[in-house]
Symmetry: C4
Subunit: 206 residues, 4 copies
């Protein structure tokens, strides 16, 4: 299986997962005082925005990573499937998060559960890269081992910071969410430090 097809399949899963998020925002059955009822759904909107930006980011990072990967093997395919499995699970943890914020019950658990799934995805992401650069056997020849190692360090930052957000969320749920939102913004904004690192300006392949 060439990486072209892996990327196409992964792109589709990312696109579907991100678009399914809207199915967890349920319209009110009663539509009198509609503005009020729509306003009450703010936790759903918040969760939608966070998860949409997060999955969009995961897609962008996934694509950037695969620009460095030239070959694939069985293990890469398995790790990629596990990464997609964690990503495609996000609509569920998003739904749990929105419900906990709505009811005011279980917010700590919901933020930690949400963070846990993100961390799981981040670990599979790192495992995939670790496997690809093991003996450099799946990477492009023009990427130096030192660069591959530097990229790994950048990738490892994600799960570590999400772990901090998750632990913080267990104490103070809103603080955890703020950390998640901050991390998403940090990666989306074109900070010089990031654009110089791994996924800012990868070598063009096509």
């Amino acid at each position: 299986v060439g990486t072209h097809r892996i990327e196409a399949f992964s792109d589709a899963v990312f696109a579907i997962a991100v678009t399914l998020l809207v199915l967890d925002v349920h319209r009110p059955d009663d539509t009198d005082r509609l503005w009020h009822r729509l306003g009450e759904l703010w936790p759903n909107y918040l969760a939608y925005v966070i998860s949409f930006l997060l999955i969009g980011l995961a897609w962008a990072n996934h694509h950037a990573m695969f620009q460095y990967i030239a070959h694939s093997d069985h293990v890469l395919l398995l790790l990629n499937t596990l990464l997609l499995m964690a990503t495609a699970f996000l609509p569920f943890s998003t739904s749990v998060l929105a419900q906990a914020l709505s009811t005011g019950d279980g917010e700590r658990s919901a933020v930690a559960f949400y963070g846990g799934i993100v961390i799981l995805g981040g670990l599979f992401f790192n495992a995939l890269w670790m496997w690809a650069r093991h003996d450099h056997h799946l990477l492009r020849a023009d990427l130096t081992p030192a660069s591959a190692r530097a990229i790994q360090r950048v990738y490892l930052v994600g799960p570590i910071f999400y772990l901090i957000g998750t632990v913080l969320g267990l104490i103070q749920p809103i603080a955890g969410l703020v950390v998640f939102a901050f991390l998403i913004l940090l990666y989306w904004l074109p900070l010089p430090v990031l654009t110089k690192s791994g996924h800012g300006s990868p070598p063009r392949r096509r």
Copy 2:
């Protein structure tokens, strides 16, 4: 990230969003007097048709716009994700609209909410183009700055007219819907004035 992949990912999100619309049309549980019950669902059919044509149009415009964009950067990617985020939210506002038309309650709010999401998408659409033509740094070299500016003017017409429809909808919901339907028809029909402007006959790229 080359624009080819951004387009493929965006295409998938548009296609999924448009196809998810049908999930908001719920079959009647009781099927006696079925024609009558199916007839009662007219607000759902109406909302389905309007949103299908609208998202189909957004896809066509998005594709036409990217025929002029040669490069991408972090900000473009973020603005595109925000545009997709607003588009993928349309199944929800469509569902709210259909429910308000069914119950007869909250129609003003529902039309305005629907229009608001469309305007939001239109603003991200314009912001994307504005960023791309800033210093002309992401556009094709063979597009003149004057043309890029002219295209922007055409793009700005959308949100302005949807704003008029939205305000009108707050006063008289059906009037607002008629404006939305009219705008969709206006863009779909091959009017000479439109085909001479931005997205009628873009330079072929492939």
Copy 3:
């Protein structure tokens, strides 16, 4: 907009519509006497199989038709969107059909409603081809006008036979379903008469 992108977008809508069909088969909440309960869902399985084969067929025909279309314009795009709109609506009419077969109420209406949506799709399909071959302005140069006309005749057979099935269904629902199933089989099986006509062996494009 080149036909390549129209085809890719259409393929995605067909693929999503066909896969959403499964969402209308609801698992029983109680799982005692599970075989019995799963058996009771036969109308859902039947409707799933019919619609899956039908949409799969629509995709194959759509693809075959676009192998003859070399250019696109605004009207073609609109007609294609209307065709997709009718196709993406099939999960709803499938759901109505399965429910009517389950309850035993409204079967006549459900079969006719189902047939009506299929006919609508067939009409848009024919309108698209009619537009494309109008002055031969969107067709490949190597397709003769006589061939284009012959293909139209084959395409027109679909809606006419579905109309017969629909009318029959209004009198005797099972008879209507049998006609639909027969039509689907007729097109799927490699009958010599069909493979010699329009969509059997189109000129390879890539």
Copy 4:
């Protein structure tokens, strides 16, 4: 219809089916004691993981098989559609399985039903290959008939082992599930015996 489009369409169906699995994991409405409630959903998580890996595997095998197929015809298209029909049905049997494991009722039937759908897909998979290698008329010229026959033997192993798991599941449901999980792991792990066979290292096509 060239195999390129069949593959793209199939890829989309696999990607959607795999991502729809998450829709069967329903968030708890009450979120007090959330960890406890999330823990109770273990059957849903288990079913999600098994089906995700299984459909991911089916995609990988499908793609590997099509690397040997050079041409397509009506029958191939029909068999492929039937294969997709069985695959796209897996979210339903997954949902039934999770529900039976949750309630503790009907586990035998649920495991057997699940296995039965997998076997059905496997049979269509084998029928497709059998048709393609019939007179070698759809295969690549550089694949020897002996290799094609050897690949068929590997493909036949799947349904046979799933049949064993299904029969075992009728007696002892957990044992059946363990067999399914074992089969999935067996195919995913890069065992030398497998990588030397059919879908380990197919000739590159692009």
